[in-house]
């Protein structure tokens, strides 16, 4: 395995534009970007999501917390229809799509889903870079072939975002040569290249060795402070405190409690949230 290089130019500077940010929080948010209404999801007889309403505003960073099995990952995957909700509707940047599980394979519905997905970039626990393409190939594949951007332009966009995650010098390398942290940063650049309206992170650091988590969280924190709209499923409490505008605690397939990170992490109101945090801080 290659030794990971910490972000050379980024590691030095503190998470950008950070201080005093939280105080003026509501002011910097824009209109509603993502709106999930009445999301329910059954896996067979298992009622995993039991009616979730969630609104995320432009430039807002929302963290979903909850025990494993609470439904937070399923909720995230419902937003871009990687899981089709059983009931409910999702709206991203004005494009609304009703769950239609009875016709989930119809060409029309699939095309609508595809349009939704163009508005949401997704990051996975195990990165899912395309192993048969270089870093640059990963970044320009969808922009050129899905959005029809000319290759030269797509490369320029990719260079910009690879530089942003500190991996421009790895542009011609295959993913197998990258550390886990580098892979996830490339995956972030790849998602950004599609210029999505919102980024969805599904436990992006859970598969990483502890010493590689920081470099990924740093990139994500920068994105949050720059006003990227994002929804993050995570177990990293420090990160949630530093980067979240709002923390949402999910339990048994419903939203149990939500609020600004200080309130949620330091003074939760609901019994479920308290129990979760207590157990989390013990370990």
């Amino acid at each position: 395995m290659t030794a990971s290089s910490p972000l050379p130019d980024r590691a030095a500077q503190p998470a950008s534009a950070g201080s005093g940010y939280a105080g003026e929080m509501p002011g910097h948010l824009g209109d509603v970007m993502v709106r999930a209404i009445g999301i329910e999801k059954y896996f067979g007889d298992n009622h995993v999501l039991r009616g979730i309403d969630l609104e995320v505003r432009q430039r807002e960073a929302v963290m979903l917390l909850g025990r494993s099995g609470s439904g937070k990952t399923t909720m995230l995957r419902c937003i871009n229809f990687l899981e089709e909700p059983t009931v409910g509707s999702i709206e991203i940047d004005g494009l609304k799509l009703e769950a239609d599980p009875l016709h989930s394979r119809s060409a029309r519905h699939l095309e609508q889903i595809r349009k939704m997905r163009l508005r949401a970039g997704m990051l996975f626990q195990d990165f899912n870079l395309f192993p048969h393409m270089t870093v640059m190939g990963n970044c320009i594949e969808a922009p050129t072939r899905v959005r029809g951007i000319p290759e030269g332009e797509a490369v320029a966009i990719a260079e910009k975002f690879l530089d942003k995650v500190g991996l421009l010098e790895k542009r011609d390398v295959y993913p197998s040569r990258l550390s886990g942290g580098q892979k996830q940063r490339v995956a972030i650049a790849r998602a950004l290249c599609m210029e999505p309206k919102v980024l969805l992170f599904d436990e992006p650091t859970s598969a990483l060795d502890p010493e590689l988590i920081g470099e990924v969280l740093r990139v994500m924190e920068d994105l949050a402070h720059e006003g990227t709209t994002m929804i993050v499923v995570t177990h990293e409490m420090h990160f949630a405190r530093a980067a979240a505008d709002r923390v949402v605690y999910v339990e048994d397939g419903v939203i149990c409690e939500q609020g600004p990170p200080e309130q949620m992490l330091d003074a939760p109101q609901m019994e479920g949230t308290k129990r979760f945090l207590r157990r989390f801080l013990e370990t």
Partner: protein
């Protein structure tokens, strides 16, 4: 000073470690020596015995051997290479059909695999050459042979490809979907290239098997190794010697391509890491 420390740090390697290495090297070279010797003995004894049993004239080998090798082996490789290529293409479409949600398409794929795996290859070769003309379709022997081999191996490779496609991690598909790729693009650009890498060793294996199965097209007068051997052997009244030469050709081809196959496999395995 630092350099001095370095060499001193290397020096105190315990003598027992050196002894273990030496012993291991010795046992490895002894293994290789015996392995090679037994091979040579077996080739000489078995091969020589068969040669004596055939009562062949050495002159015949010098005269006819090169003809069998040059003409026959070339045709064998050509038939096998073209057939495995066509079979691979058929297999991709077969696998896509077998995985299609469309029941009609799926049935066609399933029927194809069942028919060509369920009947003997020799029968399929006969059918292409002797039966199709009665339906008004006359194929030259070479084309008939390649068609039968392609269809037959395509059926086996269909299942191989299907397994290969299913072996591509689910996350790859999800990542492509999340990037807004439509199903066809996702299949062509993301899933199939990775599935192909997975099944390349299996295709190599099938190619080596096909080198030998291609001898069946001798029965429909394709001028490949076995056919040439039989024809030349018959006219020179050395049928057994000719067969031995043909056997040696197939064996040698198999050894050569197995060597490349192993190297390819090792290279694929390495770049996977």
């Amino acid at each position: 000073m630092a350099a001095g420390l370095g060499t001193e740090a290397v020096k105190p390697t315990a003598p027992i470690v050196e002894q273990i290495f030496a012993a291991r090297r010795a046992s490895r070279s002894r293994f290789r020596l015996i392995f090679g010797a037994v091979w040579v003995v077996l080739v000489v004894v078995i091969g020589g015995g068969m040669w004596l049993a055939s009562g062949a004239d050495f002159d015949f080998v010098v005269r006819s051997g090169p003809v069998i090798v040059l003409q026959g082996a070339g045709a064998t490789i050509l038939v096998s290479a073209v057939s495995i290529a066509v079979a691979t293409v058929l297999a991709v479409f077969g696998a896509l059909a077998r995985m299609s949600p469309n029941p009609a398409l799926n049935a066609v794929g399933s029927f194809y695999v069942s028919l060509f795996r369920g009947t003997p290859l020799l029968l399929q070769i006969y059918f292409m050459y002797f039966a199709l003309p009665q339906l008004g379709l006359v194929l030259p022997a070479l084309i008939a042979g390649i068609t039968a081999l392609s269809l037959n191996y395509g059926a086996y490779l269909t299942e191989v490809f299907r397994a290969g496609i299913q072996a591509v991690p689910r996350g790859q598909r999800e990542a492509a979907q999340a990037l807004g790729m439509p199903e066809r693009l996702l299949m062509r650009r993301i899933v199939l290239p990775q599935a192909t890498r997975i099944v390349i060793p299996a295709i190599g294996n099938d190619f080596i098997a096909m080198l030998k199965d291609s001898s069946l097209v001798a029965t429909i007068t394709v001028h490949e190794t076995l056919f040439m051997a039989q024809r030349i052997g018959r006219s020179a009244f050395e049928p057994v010697a000719a067969l031995l030469i043909a056997g040696a050709v197939y064996w040698t081809l198999t050894i050569i391509f197995s060597f490349f196959q192993e190297r390819l496999e090792r290279r694929l395995a390495r770049s996977d890491r």
